[in-house]
């Protein structure tokens, strides 16, 4: 591999990491509360609220409905507003983030739904505030599931990030597409795919370990 190519890969790797980190961080910061909100406003839960449930659920579904490439386009004004530019990896990460949040929120909600109702009821019986129940019961109990969900989210995002090239975001996937695919540089293609595979294996491995460590059952 030429030093030039090595350089390219280095750059692409950094771009991917950068985009992913931003998206993942926001997916956690916003997706978790959103998932919790979707859960605690469900029927029979302590913040039961059909309206919020419906509205939040619909917004989440709307975002998930839009093909990523369209999302990229639709979000250009927003990206521009936030970052002052709608190009480059940071700009791409805005769309990735927007795609990641509802995706992860749904997985968080699904994990929360697996919690034994009795445990929640028992916590309520202590007179604990909803906030404390969320913090000390729901989140810890759902942690293994939420970690597994995050693994799924990150891996899906990695696949999405290949489309970041549309707005000049770069990254490993884009390298594979632009050079490997469009320019028939099979070596680039193979190397990028291998890098991606290693990355995914690593993410899955770490995710599994963390989920197992978090599970006290």
């Amino acid at each position: 591999m030429s030093p030039d190519l090595l350089n390219e890969f280095g750059k692409a790797f950094i771009e991917t990491s950068w985009m992913m980190s931003i998206a993942v961080i926001f997916a956690i910061i916003i997706g978790v509360p959103l998932g919790v909100m979707l859960f605690v406003t469900r029927e029979g839960m302590f913040f039961e609220n059909k309206f919020v449930q419906q509205v939040a659920g619909t917004i989440v579904n709307i975002i998930r409905s839009i093909p990523f490439i369209i999302l990229l386009v639709v979000l250009i004004p927003v990206t521009k507003l936030i970052l002052g530019t709608s190009m480059g990896p940071t700009a791409a990460s805005v769309s990735l983030t927007v795609a990641a949040i509802p995706f992860y929120a749904r997985l968080v909600e699904a994990s929360l739904r697996e919690i034994d109702r009795g445990v929640i009821k028992a916590s309520e019986s202590c007179g604990a505030s909803p906030w404390l129940i969320i913090k000390d019961v729901l989140l810890p109990e759902a942690k293994p599931g939420m970690i597994a969900g995050l693994t799924v989210t990150i891996i899906s995002l990695l696949s999405y990030s290949a489309m970041a090239g549309i707005v000049g975001g770069g990254g490993i996937g884009d390298l594979a597409i632009r050079f490997g695919y469009y320019r028939f540089q099979n070596d680039v293609m193979i190397i990028t795919v291998i890098i991606l595979i290693i990355l995914v294996q690593l993410i899955q491995f770490i995710g599994d370990k963390l989920a197992k460590a978090a599970s006290k059952k």
Partner: protein, 333 residues
């Protein structure tokens, strides 16, 4: 203190509780017994509003708590401890943190939590399991965590759903002793569901007997045990006072077999002695039990009276005048 009025709880295909009316007094230990599936747990869960009653009111301190706001319910719950039949521990938290959760729920400070949790764990004998997770505990250990958790906030009312069902007798005794002590010293009101009649005997003041969602009998424990009225109650009482004689004994009997039930003071009088002093018969105690409920003795003895028929008959008359109840099980062979 707690007034339950016309309480009904229906599930899709079952009515778990039917129009229950009940008053539980401040500071008493109130037992609930009944067949499996009678609606005991459901009734208890209505008391802390974990189940919304379908109909009826629950009046605590002159307020109907079924219509309170969420926030007020929370406030009240901090003063109600509940021990659940199925424990319901937070599986992702250690024993320590499970108990600490209760204290946090009541807004206690970190220092207070670190001071109090070890004390509570010691109380239930789990100090060395503080850092275990529920999955690493035996059934009884889980139950004890549940007990510690329920007691954490010095509740005014303690609801116990089979609080000792997974515990060995020694631990059960120590827990019951503990509850009784708190009840005496702090005036804690305890509602206790149990199927262990010994538990009722040992600590309850009054007891309600439930069947198919209704209360079929209600009274002071001593009365229920000494004079059960409803067939179900009789059945339950008998289960702890079962006096079935082995067939062999009945066949080999030489005299008349009589079952005597003592109540209250009569148990303290030397009836057997007096009878023997008055009549020239022999008395052999075949079976029996005397127990003290609320310091009042309640006893049953099955005796064999051996002697002349006329003497025996006279003796039986003599005894029956002096005791609550007398029943001739088998006449002289």
């Amino acid at each position: 203190m707690i007034q339950i009025q016309h309480l009904t709880k229906r599930y899709k295909n079952t009515t778990a509780i039917r129009n229950i009316n009940l008053t539980i007094n401040q500071g008493e230990i109130f037992g609930i017994i009944g067949y499996s599936g009678a609606g005991k747990s459901t009734l208890l869960n209505c008391l802390n509003l974990l189940e919304k009653p379908t109909e009826g009111k629950i009046i605590v301190d002159e307020e109907d708590i079924t219509v309170l706001s969420e926030k007020e319910i929370r406030k009240r719950r901090q003063k109600i401890g509940t021990i659940f039949q199925h424990f319901h521990l937070i599986s992702a938290k250690t024993v320590f943190d499970n108990v600490a959760f209760s204290l946090k729920a009541a807004g206690k400070s970190k220092e207070e939590i670190h001071f109090k949790v070890p004390k509570l764990l010691k109380l239930v004998g789990l100090q060395d399991k503080a850092n275990n997770y529920p999955a690493q505990l035996s059934g009884g250990q889980k139950q004890r965590v549940g007990i510690a958790r329920a007691l954490a906030n010095d509740p005014k009312v303690l609801l116990c759903d089979e609080a000792t069902s997974a515990l060995d007798p020694t631990t059960t005794d120590s827990i019951l002793h503990l509850l009784k002590e708190i009840n005496r010293n702090l005036g804690l009101t305890i509602v206790i569901i149990t199927h262990e009649m010994e538990v009722v005997q040992k600590i309850c003041d009054r007891v309600a007997v439930m069947e198919a969602g209704e209360i079929v009998e209600l009274g002071a424990v001593y009365d229920i045990f000494s004079a059960p009225k409803h067939p179900l109650t009789k059945e339950f009482v008998q289960s702890v006072q079962s006096f079935t004689l082995p067939d062999r004994l009945l066949q080999e009997r030489k005299g008349t077999i009589v079952k005597i039930t003592f109540r209250g003071d009569s148990a303290e009088n030397p009836i057997i002695s007096e009878t023997l002093a008055h009549y020239p018969i022999m008395i052999n105690i075949l079976h029996g039990q005397i127990s003290y409920i609320n310091d009042k003795p309640l006893g049953t003895l099955i005796i064999e009276a051996i002697g002349k028929k006329s003497d025996i008959d006279a003796a039986i008359r003599f005894i029956s005048e002096r005791t609550k109840q007398l029943e001739v099980l088998a006449d002289v062979a």
